[in-house]
Symmetry: C2
Amino acid sequence: MKEKNINFPVKQVLNRVVEDHTIQNEQKSPPPGRGEGMKETEGTEGVLYLIPCPISEGESVWSVLPASNGRVMSELDYFIVENVRSARRFLSKSGLKVSELEFRELSEHTTDPRGIDVLCAPIVAGRSAGVISEAGVPGVADPGAMVVRRCHELGVRVVPLVGPSSIILAMMASGLNGQSFAFNGYLPVKDAGKAIRNLERRALSEGQAQMFIETPYRNVKLVEQLLLTLGGETRLTIAVDLTGADEFVETHGVREWRGRKLPELHKKPAIFVIGA
Amino acid sequence: MKEKNINFPVKQVLNRVVEDHTIQNEQKSPPPGRGEGMKETEGTEGVLYLIPCPISEGESVWSVLPASNGRVMSELDYFIVENVRSARRFLSKSGLKVSELEFRELSEHTTDPRGIDVLCAPIVAGRSAGVISEAGVPGVADPGAMVVRRCHELGVRVVPLVGPSSIILAMMASGLNGQSFAFNGYLPVKDAGKAIRNLERRALSEGQAQMFIETPYRNVKLVEQLLLTLGGETRLTIAVDLTGADEFVETHGVREWRGRKLPELHKKPAIFVIGA
């Protein structure tokens, strides 16, 4: 597919995309004007704005987002989102009239290029869009990246806005090697022990801090496995509910963790870092 | 050193640290009260707040930082900073009376444990501190991580605040694999070509996006080398002056980059990502 996209003449793609659009996008509205929050763009092309939202339940929106994000958000009427309901909740919490906004859902299932092209068509036609993830910054470890990738191929400008990322917050607070670190997403459910040993090997041999996450209901089991599998001198950061009321971030050697009372982890958003 | 820190009885360390403090820290002031911006902490212990600042020259502070950061910052009177002058400039831009604040500089040269302990001593004694980096989020790719690491050893609570990180903004806007990515800091000056080939190999074989930076005056030379060294199908993201007036982020295959007019890169903050 990369092959195809690179060699595909952009002009043709645009025509095809706009065509799909006119056929499939019933609800239309004019491209929004630009307020001070909007960055200038060339010509009449739409811009793809990457719009972060809070990462902790009940976190008030403007305690984790810059006010200027609101100015950009208020200019938009088209949103490509991971989950319509949570995106609506976020935008109305932010003070927007969600009834007047168009939402298109983007899930892991929206994998076929034409599906992505349909989502991008209004932008190519001049209508700016906002991408909103389930939590935190869009485009990192969520399907939003597919739209971003396609927008680059289509020559659409992509503008990332500042907001909370559990990855960078955990790295800041870990005290581990921020000069070299890797985010590895979810550990494989099958043979997680081997994956943990491989990450530890890389952390110790290359000095590269290794981050990963787990589905919240498996957090406790994962930590047990980490404390069993990792060497006593290896450092482990456990970060829970970052920016939230129950925020917890501590880094200790595994031997010390074994003797400590662990934080409440069950069903809470957590991120883990292994370091030298 | 890790050995020593892990086995060193914390109580003894605290005593030693407070002692150093009374000897070496002339200018003292009472621990700050806690406003709504402050997160609750146990007992009378100080908290280490990681305080982001803008990453682009002339960027207005509150367009990239949540307003609630200001409430935390205004409660603090002790700052551990990478550069006193730029930290003062940032805090006064933010509306703080810098004349009443104490600054301690933390450079790569502050490597000896006792130097770090002296910086941490006021916190252990109950005075909260803010860490401020030269640009962006502290603790990631800057000496602030040494203080964070020590605070975890001393049992001091570490609280990261939300702010702009060129690493996460570039990853969001890259459209490359946010499920698995690595930040590799600066490329080695010596034999950068080999380093580039190694990063490309990992990006293609593991599907892990590889990020790195260069000292701004070498950006142009680096991009030339990237376009010569990388395979034509490999994707390359070039991100320049993120959040700034000259913000530029585009991802293209290397073959396509070779035929494009490059953005103005000389002496501008830039970050690069290699992906499949």
